[in-house]
């Protein structure tokens, strides 16, 4: 029997209709995943189930039946007993989703008091038990701490503990790991899977990540523009996705097998949901669309047991899992003179304490990083948040003062040049930032943003070049007159790239340029970056945490941990044959679309503070191979080939 039955659920917020006629069932103990890109209405569906729509939002139709009770007809007092009691929810941003001025214990206690009438010592003990159950070490201490004293992963665990406090039968997890690093994501996903098995708790998982869904879900529903367009058992969906949109999503994923080819992209953008739409919503972007698609809304077609799709011409047959890897782009056959050479880059930030703000220590954000980058090539700097990769990128461009470094661009030492003499070099190296929403000045027209660098560093013919540049990144030149808010995230990132290219740089530092973007948009940006590299011979220092992107784009990889590079080499060497236990764990933590039987290595714990790195090898507290030698000394470099080196006492 279904625990939750949703039929024709529709939501309106003013004139916008973010959810239209969504129907699905969730059985006891089952995980159902709603998959879709931003703005498809998946979070709004979840909030509608909890009757927690934002101000101005209301349910306009459909029924929600939870264990025989119709939630739409329940009075608010009755709904409050369901909410947090029988149906709990966890959210995307653990950093902002906990009350900053209340202790973790008090926040869990609220739930206990509401749903079990537990207060005082009993509630405290129960809170500790819950914190222990979600894998928080030392719960007796943590229960009295404030959220800011916990790491991101621990905050998310605390939020799960809060959700479990009511002993829910259904857990709604809205992008539960999107804000977390992959190794922490793996821990949290493991925890959710364990809890589901132990408590027979049904889960509604909301995610945009095909890998996460593949790992967690029993059944999958794909949402597009406010509608569910396909539902299927997980295995069936991953083997034979039927909706063209689903197929496109798979094709847009960067993968090593697609190296040297362009990623499939979805042209156009999601239709805006504030006016009536006719025909199939995906038709304007669908390559297979025919006349009928534009005229008639497709009805559900049933393909197999539990597999239904809303398409006039559903695809049949298996999903092509890419062509086999091409023979490789003849990596490092010749050794041309490097464009960028960085030796022993250190960036230390002082920690000041006491009455006279004396420096009592340093945060070693970057602690001895050496890099070499050749023209026309891409070096990926990989690591989790807090490992110092962004700081390193900024220090390479001298946007941050380095504590010590030898920095050579095209053979010329620039590490200690005064700012006035550095200016000519500024034009030769540029940066593309992570957040396309924050990195463009909202008060400047995009044309002015692009021309600004030209005027400052080149000083001639700025305006004429702007149109050219916009076209080079795939935008009409006439758009120079518009303001950033008129563009979508992907278009803004294109503008940011145009801005960087304006001064004809040779080196581009790309700091997570696609991590704020949807998969289909990410594909467009990656294609663009690769085309530009081929055409202009740019060198990229590509800073990212996304291994798939590295595999698709880069030739060389350097893996950073706590301010130091622990493994480097060509993409094939490092990603196919990782030697450092951290690299191995990092690769294993990425949720794969193709299921694998090998039990992955999991990292315990969090990244230590770079202010007080562990003695010896920084990685030893989390390392499965650590022995006494590792606690005593930092390992030197071990070379496995001319390019592949590892800093580990026991590389495997």
């Amino acid at each position: 029997m279904s625990l939750l039955k949703v039929r024709d659920l529709s939501v309106a917020i003013g004139p916008v209709r973010p959810v239209q006629q969504v129907s699905f069932d969730i059985d006891e103990g089952e995980t159902f995943a709603l998959l879709g890109e931003s703005g498809c209405g998946k979070s709004m569906t979840a909030l509608a189930l909890m009757r927690l729509l934002p101000a101005g939002g209301r349910l306009t139709g459909g029924t929600v039946v939870f264990d025989g009770t119709s939630l739409r007809e329940l009075p608010e007092t009755g709904m409050r007993r369901v909410r947090g009691g029988r149906m709990a929810m966890i959210f995307q941003e653990p950093g902002t989703s906990l009350n900053p001025v209340m202790t973790v214990g008090a926040q869990i206690g609220e739930s206990l008091a509401l749903h079990h009438g537990m207060t005082g010592v009993a509630a405290r003990e129960r809170a500790e038990t819950l914190l222990a159950a979600v894998g928080i070490p030392d719960p007796a201490r943590r229960v009295d701490e404030f959220p800011f004293q916990l790491s991101g992963g621990m905050k998310q665990r605390a939020m799960i503990a809060m959700a479990l406090a009511g002993e829910p039968e259904l857990l709604i997890a809205d992008e539960p790991t999107t804000a977390l690093d992959v190794t922490i994501q793996a821990q949290v996903l493991d925890l959710l899977a364990e809890l589901k098995a132990a408590r027979r708790m049904a889960t509604l998982l909301i995610s945009h990540d095909l890998g996460v869904v593949a790992r967690m879900a029993d059944r999958v529903g794909i949402m597009y523009a406010g509608q569910l367009v396909e539902t299927a058992p997980r295995a069936d969906f991953y083997a034979r996705p039927a909706h063209p949109y689903a197929r496109r999503l798979f094709a847009a994923l960067p993968d090593v097998r697609l190296r040297g080819t362009a990623l499939a992209t979805i042209p156009g953008s999601v239709p805006s949901l504030d006016r009536p739409l006719c025909g199939c919503r995906f038709a304007p972007r669908c390559a297979e669309a025919r006349e009928i698609c534009r005229r008639e809304v497709p009805d559900w077609t049933f393909l197999a047991q539990g597999h239904a799709v809303r398409c006039h011409f559903p695809a049949t047959g298996a999903r092509s899992s890419g062509v086999p890897a091409p023979a490789g782009e003849s990596v490092a056959a010749e050794a041309p003179a490097p464009l960028l050479e960085v030796e022993e880059l250190r960036v230390h930030f002082p920690i000041r304490r006491g009455l006279f703000r004396r420096t009592v220590g340093h945060v070693r954000a970057v602690d001895g990083v050496s890099l070499r980058l050749v023209r026309g090539r891409t070096l990926a700097l990989v690591g989790e948040s807090g490992c110092g990769k962004t700081t390193a990128g900024k220090a390479v461009l001298r946007l941050l003062p380095a504590t010590s470094s030898f920095l050579r661009l095209d053979g010329q030492e620039i590490g200690d040049l005064p700012e006035s003499r550095l200016r000519p070099f500024r034009a030769r190296m540029q940066m593309v930032f992570q957040d396309p929403f924050g990195s463009l000045n909202p008060r400047l027209r995009v044309g002015e943003t692009i021309a600004e660098g030209l005027r400052a560093l080149k000083g001639r013919g700025a305006e004429a070049r702007v149109g050219e540049l916009l076209e080079a990144v795939g935008l009409p030149g006439a758009m120079a007159q518009r303001y950033p808010h008129e563009f979508s995230g992907g278009q803004r990132q294109r503008i940011a790239i145009a801005r960087a290219l304006a001064v004809e740089p040779e080196l581009l530092v790309c700091d997570e340029p696609t991590s704020a973007l949807d998969v289909s948009v990410q594909a467009q940006i990656l294609n663009l970056l690769r085309d530009l590299q081929k055409r202009l011979g740019l060198a990229y220092l590509f800073i990212t945490h996304n291994i798939a992107v590295v595999d698709f784009l880069a030739q060389e990889v350097a893996v950073m941990y706590l301010g130091r590079i622990v493994e480097r080499g060509s993409v094939d060497e490092v990603l196919r044959n990782p030697r450092h236990p951290y690299t191995q764990a990092l690769l294993a933590a990425v949720p794969a679309i193709e299921p694998s039987e090998v039990a992955p290595v999991r990292l315990a714990g969090d990244l230590p503070s770079p202010a007080a790195p562990p003695a010896g090898c920084h990685f030893h507290p989390r390392c499965p191979r650590a022995v006494d030698t590792c606690r005593a000394s930092y390992p030197g470099e071990t070379a496995f080939s001319a390019s592949h080196t590892v800093r580990c006492h026991f590389p495997g």
Partner: protein, 325 residues
């Protein structure tokens, strides 16, 4: 924590010295003692002898900052700067032009000033926060819109209107309390009710509107959604989650004025005839009594610096993120 407090207090010292120097420059360099004497004595009957006599009586006949004729340490101490300005650090303000001791005057006049200002402060905060919470409870309804319109209307009206209108209605028409005046002891209450009430009402508009914005900002945060998802009733959510977080900017915003409550209010006190520090300052300005005005300017600066210091400390008290880091 202690180191932080000590450092903040140390920072205050150079600021106070700067304030002192600027006050000195304003009162003795821009406006020389001769000018003061002329203004005090009136333009008609003024003779050089009268000016000299006036200056000598008040100690303004000394050199400004350097007494070349004196011996030893007196070269510095026997000057206007030392006698009038440096002494202010010890809160020794000397005598007013009418010969009364300023420090004593301040001590006695502080009480009526506080008697008006403290109730206005506490009551005003309480009423504005309650009103703002009420508006937030009815957010996105016509009640909220109407409340905001009322706030804008109330803050658009001059405070003089509230005073004169209130005096006319409550005292003249209804005969409930005296129009103005003051008495010691418990009798003060009937003189205080009206000014306190009027000041609270005059302040609601702008502060309730500001607090409503702060509350709304908090209501839209993720942690509020989390709290609602637990099944909390809306009122519990507002009081336990929203109020506690919004109080951080509210409290730290108002703490800065707490020390300044001592100074009283210039307008209220003179309209209601309350013998506080505010009316003392106004009277001194009218009487061109620079010794008093100088003292009040310096005290005002000190209290403001104290207010800023308290603001920083209050952060550490209300926000665990600041307290524990």
């Amino acid at each position: 924590m202690l180191a932080y407090v000590v450092r903040r207090v140390l920072y205050a010292i150079p600021i106070l010295i700067g304030v002192n120097l600027i006050t000195f420059a304003l009162f003795f360099v821009v406006n020389s003692p001769d000018d003061m004497a002329r203004m005090q004595l009136g333009v008609k009957r003024v003779t050089p002898e009268a000016i000299q006599k006036w200056k000598a009586e008040r100690g303004y006949d000394k050199p400004l900052a350097w007494n070349a004729e004196a011996a030893g340490l007196a070269k510095v101490t026997d000057t206007i700067f030392f006698a009038k300005s440096v002494r202010m650090f010890a809160f020794d303000f000397g005598r007013a032009d009418d010969g009364r001791d300023i420090s004593r005057e301040i001590r006695t006049r502080m009480v009526p000033s506080l008697a008006v200002a403290v109730p206005v402060f506490i009551l005003g905060l309480y009423v504005s926060i309650s009103f703002a919470l009420l508006l937030v409870f009815f957010r996105a309804t016509y009640l909220d819109v109407g409340g905001v319109v009322l706030c804008v209307a109330m803050m658009s009206i001059s405070s003089l209107f509230y005073i004169i209108g209130g005096q006319w209605l409550v005292s003249k028409v209804w005969h409930l309390v005296p129009i103005s005046g003051y008495a010691g002891g418990l009798d003060a209450v009937k003189f205080l009710v009206l000014p306190v009430l009027i000041n609270v009402i005059a302040g609601i508009g702008s502060s309730a509107r500001l607090y409503r914005t702060l509350f709304l900002e908090e209501v839209n945060r993720d942690y509020v959604r989390t709290a609602m998802a637990k099944g909390l009733p809306e009122l519990t959510m507002l009081f336990r989650h929203v109020l506690r977080n919004a109080l951080i900017p509210i409290l730290t915003g108002v703490v800065v004025v707490i020390p300044l409550l001592f100074m009283g209010s210039l307008i209220t006190e003179s309209f209601f005839g309350i013998p506080g520090l505010g009316s003392y300052t106004i009277d001194a300005i009218n009487a061109q009594d620079f010794a008093v005005v100088r003292a009040m300017v310096f005290i005002g600066s000190c209290l403001y610096i104290l207010g800023l210091l308290l603001t920083d400390l209050s952060y550490t008290l209300v926000d665990p993120r600041v307290r524990l880091e």
